[in-house]
Symmetry: C2
DNA sequence: TTGAAAGCGCTAACAG
DNA sequence: CTGTTAGCGCTTTCAA
């Protein structure tokens, strides 16, 4: 910056001002600075800037797994919205491990990000402590992909997984099935999937149905779905299956196709997530649409709003992200 | 840090040292510092640290689209390897737009990242200039998902797309097909897909086959694949189709199933990317395996190597990431 | 409209 | 093993 200033014949202060509030620099000076800037290929050092100003144009996001389509699309939406707003995205993956989440959050907060996006509402005590501290210092903290029924201490952009579980049970019951099972994710810390399962089973039983939970093996999810159905075929096969996610459902559906099991006549299947494939496969797999892109979009929008100083009261609430069963032919 | 130092009864320098080189602090002092650290919940300010040390524990990655499974898995691998190494990942998405890429690179370089990961080898002149400058200052720059046959000015971790195109053509020719077509991606800036297509067609023609290129519509790729096949069925259907990516192939495959077109007897299909679904669908779609996880892994490993000061000569070359046709039943 | 001075929180280099 | 000094590159605040 010193070089640029020397070339333009001004002080660094003027350069700095030109970069942040160009309207406060005279047109003549601006022209000189512009030229100097081009000739040097200057890139402002953001660390120095952040240190001096106490803010940093970074937004931190902590996600279980970027490789998962659901989260990947949410992240993509974040990138899209933040692009052009001047914020960068600092990303980290926890691999569904709360300890690792804690480390990541600690590391990210060291960057004094303008906001923190974190997945879900379950965190270690230490993580929660850090989140509260940060919030109290004015940092917007958004929990995504979950939503409690009562008001929460952080902003939440997502939906209620208990309701989602009930929704799944209701759908199957309405379609006339009474012998149900929930195929749960094999990932121990995938709390949201387990939560849907619990309330699925609870609701189904309360409605007088048979309902059990089956845990899919870990590993590649489609293969796990396939394996689960294979195992079930060995014993007693429930009349209708609700899956923790579409990948499991797809795997099971494909297995059914390959062994000639009729869907939904012999076994009905309901997925969760509504990935593109659910529409395309066979005559369509019924699934719960979750608006994963919308979650990213709403989160980013809400954060930008908060950061631009819109009072919490005026800040419009995130749009309703209520999940919805998309009925296709597998149920 | 001043507070922590006061509580522990030492100077900030000792705290700083404890955090970075704990073995150089006496056990007694360490214990006190540890306690002070816990009691305050101190989080080091990374901007200040970076500014002072001239390095920053961040690695920048510029990717076309995080929502795409291929890149998402690469990114996931990056996260996994960098986790624990002390580096964070600064991520941005270009949406296959070189202008946007330029902006992003400029913004990211402002963080003085320890390394830069960028997708592909085509960039605007300004981007290239920035990359060269950075490299000359010692920053490892890695171009991923591509590889030129000649030595390149940057580190490349990926494979050669011309060879991949030839590979696809060869596979189909070996299987006895002579009336071929390449279904290209509808994304104009997906250069790598176009490049595979060009050499696919060139090789096929040189081998005496008929070969054309068909451009898939933009939009959701499976739907695009389906639409492409539907269109082709209206006119003359080539005997074998090579697709720019597996999503297109899957869409087309599903369309074939739904209209009762025999695969591969009426039309053969070869995908690219080898996503999990290619294995699972029907009796399997032949596809080119690209080791997308491996690309992330090799990139991260290589970068850590360079950063740990391993001389360029000793740094082991990234493992061979040669694509490979996985033959299943669709060809 | 521009500049001067001070300092953000940390670490490098050296001294003790 | 621990402390002192200086300064990273920028922005804030105030003065001209």
């Amino acid at each position: 910056m010193v070089d640029v200033a020397a070339i333009a014949g001004v002080t660094t202060m003027t350069i700095s001002r030109y970069l942040r509030e160009p309207e406060r620099v005279s047109p003549l000076t601006s022209a000189k600075i512009k030229e100097a800037l081009d000739s040097t290929g200057y890139t402002p050092n953001k660390q120095a800037g952040g240190l001096a100003s106490g803010k940093s144009p970074v937004i931190a996001a902590v996600i279980p797994n970027v490789g998962n389509t659901l989260f990947a699309e949410t992240v993509q939406a974040l990138c899209d919205v933040f692009h052009g707003s001047g914020y960068e995205l600092l990303l980290s993956a926890t691999n569904y491990d709360l300890e690792r989440e804690e480390e990541q959050v600690r590391a990210m907060l060291g960057w004094l990000p303008a906001a923190l996006i974190i997945t879900g509402r379950r965190h270690t005590d230490a993580t929660l402590q850090m989140m509260r501290n940060a919030r109290d210092r004015g940092m917007p903290i958004v929990e995504i992909w979950d939503k409690t029924t009562r008001p929460s201490e952080f902003i939440q952009v997502g939906f209620n997984h208990q309701e989602a579980g009930v929704l799944m049970a209701k759908h199957l019951i309405e379609r006339g099935y009474t012998d149900l099972a929930y195929v749960d994710s094999g990932v121990p810390d995938d709390f949201r999937a387990h939560e849907r399962g619990l309330s699925f089973v609870r609701h189904a039983k309360a409605a007088g149905c048979t309902a059990t939970t089956i845990i899919a093996p870990r590993g590649e999810p489609m293969a796990a779905g396939r394996a689960t159905l294979r195992t079930l075929c060995g014993g007693s096969l429930p009349r209708a299956l609700a899956f923790a996610n579409d990948h499991l459902a797809v795997g099971a559906y494909l297995h059914a196709q390959s062994v000639g099991l009729a869907v939904p006549d012999t076994v009905a299947m309901l997925g969760f997530g509504d990935i593109a494939l659910a529409t395309e496969l066979g005559s369509g797999i019924s699934s719960v649409a979750t608006q994963r892109h919308q979650i990213g979009f709403a989160t980013a929008t809400r954060i930008l709003q908060e950061l631009s100083g819109a009072a919490a009261s005026t800040a419009s609430l995130p749009p309703e992200l209520r999940p919805e069963v998309i009925h296709r032919s597998s149920t």
